[in-house]
């Protein structure tokens, strides 16, 4: 019966699910204690934008709960009441790729259940079955050839850096060298996509290192901090991609790894790296922690009047709820602009932009056979609805979102809904405001 798709799935899943006995404490507890009280539905941006029963975090997690109870508990194994077919898994893919893993429900769950952990486990099962969205898989496959998510060659990287140096020269009239592959105190790792679409942000970062007089470098092997393994739940890949960063830090003998404007990249480096490789022989910081310190010490001169428009700040979920990075980006932002307004709610209670968990890079149907409509429509009408309302209420003209995925999602959202709001990073503004000695 090996050719029958249904029984093949059953076998794969049963094999995987037997391991549930060894599942982490978090999953065991989360899958066994939910009382379906419904608080998570009230705080989920997806459910609030589209009150469909399948969008409730508890209901979504019940998909995995059903599998767990049928395979990992003695009574469930006896009854074998829950048999999954291929079409069930197609529906899993839809439901678990509507959750952006923002962890807002975990913040409010009276029982402390973190549904993002359940989503990631379910996505890992989907990945093992070859049911991850094709775009994520294709991107993951790139690193074995190129060591980055963009398919960028060494020459292309050098070109991109030379372009940044030239732009800085033209815009600011100063000569700023971006060191590559040099032994230094700091290794700077942005999300790789900034090299293609975030030049302003990267220029701001380079200007900051220059103005602060830091001994820094970029690596031609490890210039891409993003890690889609966090989205697909593929832990082996997460490690493989992360190892590139780790090796670069060792090779260049840096004391500190500085992560650029990217939520999930910072989270992987800050929270998972020590878990993967043990105690690290270097520190991991966000560029905001560093910049906040130098601005506070007065080591950098800034002219806020360079940014006179009303600016608001979007807290990336991975910065706040997953890393506790809340006040530093604000401090940097406030030092760079004249007019700042908070959105509500903010900080730990902030709504997700709708692009978390890899959704920001998905546009079409991405190979999900049960997909009705596209990810594009989902992102602009459902995933981003709460955030759109929030931004509208502030009346801001510039939306600072220091995360590559948030920027991508918010840019699309503002453009689609005809909002006169520019979406960008914080270092874009720092680059504008920086006063440099000629």
């Amino acid at each position: 019966m090996a050719t029958d798709p249904v029984s093949r799935y059953d076998e794969d899943i049963i094999k995987g699910a037997r391991d549930l006995d060894n599942w982490a404490r978090s999953l065991q507890v989360y899958l066994e204690i939910c009382t379906h009280c419904g608080v998570c539905s009230q705080v989920c941006h997806v459910y609030q934008s589209n009150p469909d029963r399948r969008a409730s975090p508890a209901k979504r997690s019940d998909l995995l709960r059903g599998l767990y109870h049928s395979q990992a508990t003695p009574l469930g194994r006896l009854l074998k009441r829950y048999r999954l077919t291929e079409s069930d898994f197609n529906n899993w893919a839809l439901d678990f790729y509507k959750c952006s893993g923002c962890r807002r429900c975990a913040q409010y769950c009276p029982l402390g259940i973190d549904n993002s952990v359940i989503t990631r486990k379910a996505r890992a099962i989907l990945h093992a079955l070859g049911k991850s969205p094709q775009k994520l898989v294709a991107t993951q496959n790139l690193i074995d050839t190129f060591s980055n998510d963009l398919g960028m060659t060494y020459e292309a990287f050098l070109d991109a850096v030379a372009f940044l140096e030239q732009e800085i020269r033209e815009e600011k009239g100063v000569e700023v060298k971006i060191p590559i592959d040099q032994e230094a105190d700091l290794l700077f790792v942005p999300p790789g996509s900034d090299l293609m679409t975030g030049a302003e942000t990267l220029m701001g970062c380079a200007l900051f290192f220059h103005a602060a007089g830091l001994r820094w470098t970029m690596s031609s092997k490890a210039f891409d901090g993003s890690n889609y393994g966090l989205f697909t739940g593929d832990e082996a890949y997460t490690r493989r991609k992360n190892k590139i960063l780790y090796d670069a830090c060792i090779e260049l003998k840096v004391k500190t790894l500085v992560m650029g404007e990217c939520g999930h990249a910072y989270r992987v480096a800050k929270r998972l790296m020590p878990f993967f490789w043990g105690t690290l022989p270097f520190h991991v910081v966000s560029i905001f922690t560093l910049a906040e310190e130098y601005i506070r010490k007065g080591a950098i001169r800034l002219d806020p009047s360079a940014n006179p428009m009303l600016v608001t700040y979007h807290d990336p979920c991975n910065y706040t709820r997953s890393c506790g990075l809340v006040e530093e980006p604000r401090a940097v932002l406030k030092a760079c602009v004249e007019n700042f307004v908070e959105m509500t709610p903010n900080r730990y209670e902030n709504w997700c932009c709708g692009g978390g968990g890899g959704l920001a890079v998905l546009d079409g149907r991405e190979g999900l056979s049960a997909m009705n409509g596209s990810f594009h429509d989902y992102r602009v009408h459902i995933g981003g609805k709460k955030k759109l309302e929030q931004v509208k209420r502030t009346g801001a003209k510039y939306l600072a979102a220091p995360c590559a995925n948030c920027k991508r999602q918010l840019g699309l959202l503002m453009q689609y809904h005809g909002m006169d709001v520019q979406v960008g990073g914080i270092f874009d503004l720092l680059g504008n405001a920086a006063i440099l000695n000629h």
Binding site: N22, W23, A24, R25, S26, Q28, V29, Y30, E32, I33, C34, T35, H36, C37, G38, V39, S41, Q42, V43, P51, R53, S56, A58, K59, D62, L75, R103, A106, Q107, Y108, C109, P110, L111, G112, I113, D114, V117, R271, F275, T320, R321, S322, C323, G324, V326, Y348
Partner: protein, 233 residues
């Protein structure tokens, strides 16, 4: 025959199933690998973690911030159940030691306890009925509810209802019940009270106790585990 089954035979099974089941569950949880899942704002010290957990467990703060009526219902339900459970300790003997010093000429604690227990029992019933009604009437909660949710809640309600009936509708011989509970684990033949409300209540309670380790009622110990996972920095 029924009295013998409910009062002499079943309790042995109940205690064995309950202790074995809870032990099995907790052993699974405590031996599983413990990932770091910090959710900020998190706590650095053990004291801080426990303070946050106790605040949540005692006050249901996260429900309070989102849903005031659910908070009122669930907080009253759990709190009154906890008080009722404590009250059941008096079945094992005379007044607990810590109550006795409060006795005085102007305050007859012993006489007050009974009506207080009755009121709290009725509160638990009302709050539980509200939670059940909410599950049936509110669409967003109904659509995420399962048979097990209704089963567990109904069973708890049945225990509360029979307990309330026992106090309100029947002439309860407290001394007889106390004598029974003092001797139940002496492994000698016991005299089971013949009050049929008592037998019904006691039977329901035992079914609930046996089900507890195998149901989501384990959220009682579970919340300490899950909160600890996300609060630990």
């Amino acid at each position: 025959m029924i009295a013998w089954f409910v009062g002499s035979f079943l309790p042995v099974i109940t205690v064995a199933v309950f202790i074995g089941g809870v032990f099995w569950r907790l052993r699974r949880w405590t031996t599983a690998t413990r990932p770091k899942l910090t959710l900020f704002p998190a706590e650095k010290t053990r004291f801080g973690i426990w303070k946050e957990i106790l605040k949540e467990v005692a006050g249901f703060r996260s429900i309070f911030s989102q849903d005031k009526s659910l908070w009122a219902g669930s907080w009253l339900f759990h709190t009154s159940l906890a008080i009722v459970l404590l009250g059941h300790l008096s079945l094992t003997g005379e007044l607990p030691l810590w109550v006795r010093p409060a006795e005085s000429k102007w305050m007859n604690v012993t006489a007050m306890l009974s009506p207080i227990g009755q009121a709290v029992g009725l509160t638990a019933l009302a709050a539980g009925l509200y939670l059940l009604a909410r599950r049936i009437l509110i669409r967003t909660v109904r659509e995420i509810s399962y048979a097990e949710d209704f089963l567990v809640l109904s069973l708890v309600l049945a225990v509360i209802l029979t307990g309330d009936a026992l106090r309100v509708c029947s002439s309860l011989d407290l001394l007889e019940i106390r004598m029974y509970f003092r001797t139940i684990f002496s492994l000698k033949p016991v005299i089971v009270p013949s009050n049929s409300w008592f037998l019904l209540h006691f039977f329901m309670a035992q079914v609930l106790i046996m089900m507890l380790p195998f149901s989501r009622l384990m959220h009682a110990p579970g919340v300490f585990f899950s909160k600890h996972l996300i609060l630990k920095q």
